[in-house]
């Protein structure tokens, strides 16, 4: 099947408006006869469910958590971008579009990104109307901050809990519809397969995670907003339950999976400390507004710090290497995430890491304390303030901005980050790759949509900070509700989709067989054993930098782990009860397939772009020496993989990327 992105004709500025003016609509009376399933209730799924229900469709929403509000969007910290230009610093729809395409290293679809930038301002209006308590300045207007990879302040925030507040906003909109009966909410339910009838997605098979019951649910369309697949690495900033199962199931039933190798390794996470570690914790990128990243200049100091003979605060300015400011004077500490992560790895690989594992750099707020402190002293007319007073005043400002993050750090590491610099190291955070969708957000299965992090479309090979929340809400509130209507307008006479058909029988049998296999296998090793093993291969061979040799090994090793898993996995308990090990087994089985496709995709992409750094493709000399080298001639395409059984047999389909409105350039932040 040839890939058709269905991008409307016309100039980029008019595409979305023209599109909306010409699509088919479903009249309000007919919407009552149409059912839509939404899987996942994060920012994308939650906002989509609420909006579709408001429009009049009958929505069935599914979450594996006990409440939609607990989806992992809740953990997003820093903020949400919008081209409001409230700061008057030159922002515009075009500039947000440009920054996002450039930040994505020119591997995203222009038309989708422009639409995203276009609707971004509406999101802020909408959220404020819903009662989201964004940060404000003393005049009562909305405050902004700046994020990596941009030169304006366009990020709206609610302390360090922006994701929480936006999700609670979407959740409140959902609650209003649940109360009206327009959303039927299925908490503690997991989608285990999609059901296809006459080539169209017409339902799902789900498991009730309390009773173990396997349920059939039908609808006229299925929307998957189930998040990313970062947990393929075992350790990531994702929630423990975050999984790729819904996305992977639709892939196996015909949805192409695009660019799986594009992973975001976030530069500011709390370093790992031991083998027992179950997850990694992010420290918001917003901290890079005020924190400066450094390692010692001299190896003696590194050793002294590791052995506890010196403290980081003992080192003078001359003895510190602020390597981001040194290498990237224009953007400094606010370079995009992929660049910052690789720079940290480069220093640590060279032996300058500051903790026992050698995998940590400092994020230091001392100069922010002083800068804010002096400013406050002036505001409060304090003449000749002492150093302590300046520090105290500055600390209060930093605390107001990032207090919860500092507290979180102290609880985990047991060090006070107001007194000593934080230690950070990159960790897997977000996956730009995902299910391939067209301009309508429809997958290659008719009637099956994919939104938010689960799809691939807007962030190219690297996502800029504060853009995930923007995309999730844009897809759910403002894009999908239009595009899905155009599809559903053909279904006004279809009537309810029956579930007592052979398609549902077959899908249910497949699901039940697999569950029965797990609980009856009586192997010798736990699910986590395999998950950790997979994670180690992924991190070592498909992590921050990759090469052909390692990727070929990774594919073989993952396949071997998968084969061992299906022989030796042990799942205690039964199928007809709450059984967390059984849930994990199903998810890890899917990660064991996805991981291999990931490595295959990374192997195919013999260029460096964004989060995907191929060691064979770096600049060898000139001012950009050592930086990633993109290859637009051969690789300016989306790699969409078609499932053919074994992951190694997946077939590549290319969607060529056209850049009509932005010139393809080397991405320089120097």
């Amino acid at each position: 099947m040839a890939l058709d992105s269905k991008v409307p004709k016309g100039s980029i500025k008019d595409k979305w408006t023209d599109y909306k003016n010409h699509i088919d609509l479903v009249n309000p009376a007919n919407k009552r006869h149409i059912d839509v399933i939404v899987v996942g209730t994060g920012l994308a799924g939650g906002s989509a469910a609420a909006t579709l229900a408001e429009l009049g469709y009958n929505v069935k929403a599914f979450a594996y958590q006990d409440s939609p509000r607990r989806a992992h969007s809740i953990a997003a910290q820093g903020g949400i971008n919008a081209a409001k230009n409230y700061q008057g610093d030159g922002d515009s729809t075009y500039r947000l579009f440009y920054d996002t395409v450039k930040g994505g290293d020119y591997r995203s679809r222009e038309a989708n990104v422009y639409r995203l930038a276009e609707v971004s301002a509406n999101i802020i209006d909408q959220c404020v109307a819903q009662g989201v308590p964004f940060a404000r300045d003393y005049g009562g207007l909305l405050d902004n901050r700046s994020f990596g990879g941009v030169l304006v302040s366009r990020t709206f925030y609610a302390k360090g809990q922006t994701g929480q507040q936006l999700l609670l906003g979407a959740y409140s909109a959902m609650n209003r519809q649940i109360a009206r009966g327009k959303i039927e909410m299925f908490n503690r339910h997991e989608m285990l397969d999609v059901v296809i009838v006459d080539g169209k997605a017409r339902g799902i098979i789900a498991r009730n995670l309390i009773t173990g019951e396997i349920e059939r649910h039908s609808a006229h369309a299925v929307v998957v907003g189930s998040g990313g697949y970062g947990n393929v690495y075992f350790l990531s900033t994702n929630a423990m339950g975050s999984n790729a199962t819904a996305a992977w199931k639709i892939h196996k039933k015909g949805a192409y999976f695009a660019n799986p190798c594009y992973t975001q390794i976030h530069p500011t996470c709390i370093p790992r400390s031991g083998d027992y570690q179950s997850k990694l914790t992010l420290m918001s990128e917003s901290l890079r507004n005020d924190g400066r990243i450094w390692v010692p200049k001299n190896m003696e100091d590194v050793m002294a710090i590791r052995e506890g003979r010196k403290k980081p605060t003992d080192l003078s300015e001359d003895e510190r290497d602020y390597y981001l400011e040194r290498r990237y004077p224009a953007f400094g500490n606010l370079v995009p995430r992929d660049v910052a992560s690789r720079a940290a790895k480069e220093r640590c690989d060279a032996g300058y890491g500051v903790n026992a594992t050698g995998e940590a750099v400092y994020l230091d707020f001392a100069s922010a304390f002083e800068r804010y402190g002096r400013e406050q002293a002036k505001i409060h007319n304090i003449t000749n303030p002492s150093d302590e007073k300046i520090y105290e005043l500055g600390q209060a400002i930093v605390e107001a901005k990032y207090g919860n993050l500092f507290q979180m750090y102290e609880k985990i590491i047991d060090q006070n980050p107001y007194k000593t610099p934080m230690m950070i190291y990159p960790a897997v955070h977000y996956t730009m790759g995902g299910v391939w969708v067209d301009y309508n957000l429809m997958t290659t299965i008719p009637g099956c949509y994919c939104i938010g992090e689960a799809n691939f479309s807007d962030h190219g090979a690297n996502r800029l900070g504060a853009s995930a929340l923007m995309q999730g809400l844009a897809d759910g509130y403002f894009v999908l509700p239009y595009t899905i209507g155009d599809y559903l307008s053909d279904d006004i006479r279809t009537g309810k989709i029956p579930t007592d058909t052979k398609e549902f029988d077959e899908a249910e049998k497949e699901v039940s067989d697999r569950i029965n296999f797990f609980v009856n296998n009586k192997g010798t090793k736990s699910v986590d054993y395999f998950h950790k093993k997979l994670g180690k291969v992924m991190w070592d061979k498909a992590g921050m930098s990759r090469n052909a040799e390692g990727l070929i090994e990774a594919m073989a090793e993952i396949k071997a782990i998968r084969e061992e898993f299906w022989k030796e996995v042990s799942v205690p308990g039964t199928a007809d009860e709450m059984n967390p090990e059984l849930e994990k087994a199903g998810r890890v089985a899917d990660f064991l397939e996805l991981g291999e496709l990931f490595a295959k995709d990374a192997l195919m992409r013999k260029e460096s772009c964004g989060g995907h750094f191929r060691e064979e493709s770096a600049e060898l000399d000139g001012p950009q020496k050592g930086e990633a080298k993109r290859n637009d001639e051969d690789f300016a395409f989306v790699a969409a993989w078609e499932y053919k059984g074994e992951p190694a047999d997946a077939v590549l389909h290319k969607e060529e990327l056209e850049f009509k409105d932005i010139e393809l350039k080397q991405r320089s932040y120097k």
Partner: protein, 248 residues
Amino acid sequence: MNLTLKIWRQKDSKAKGQMVDYKVTDISEHMSFLEMMDVLNEQLVNSGEEPVAFDHDCREGICGMCSMYINGEAHGPDRGVTTCQLHMRMFNDGDTITIEPFRAAAFPVIKDLVVDRMAFERIQQAGGYISVNTSGNTQDANSIPISKHAADEAMDAATCIGCGACVASCKNSSAMLFVGAKVSQYALLPQGQVEAVDRVKNMVAQMDLEGFGNCTNTGACEVECPKGISLENIARMNREYLSATLKG
């Protein structure tokens, strides 16, 4: 460190539960409490036993999924943290740790340490929202200035993660800190005024219907709240409720 764990085991909502003793060894002080539970569960799985079911997800203190009543305190002995943020450095070698589910009539046990908190969902469905459609056609976000003070206070109330520690800590199993926080967020913002009267009445009515107890001002909820939600929110809810009743 080596520890003895006394854990509530209950097969399902209908079964009778009991405390069961387990031993874990070589626990690092840098582990989180839930990582210690992972160690126990791995041990159980490897010996073919059923692991202990407990709720958890984000493991960074924001999703509100984890619960557990540890040594007689919701989320354990540390302050301002959820169980997933509790670290083993709070305990000593040789300790015996008692781990129970959150206990409240409105939070029935589903299995082991997992409880059903759907009552919170229904309270929010009763009025925890502003009735505005997501059309994107609302007015510009900056058209209503909101004082920084009000916005910050609303934010403080809105940080509630809905974990239920307040209910578990209260001798009356009252949910007033939770409902107070939800009511306050909207009461403090101009957008919330239009529906203020109905909101507080409906949410309080649902709270009562769910079987939560009343508030007798002991303040245990505030002490145990991982997000530091203040008792002021209960006072504000009472004020809102009284004024709503007077308005009819």
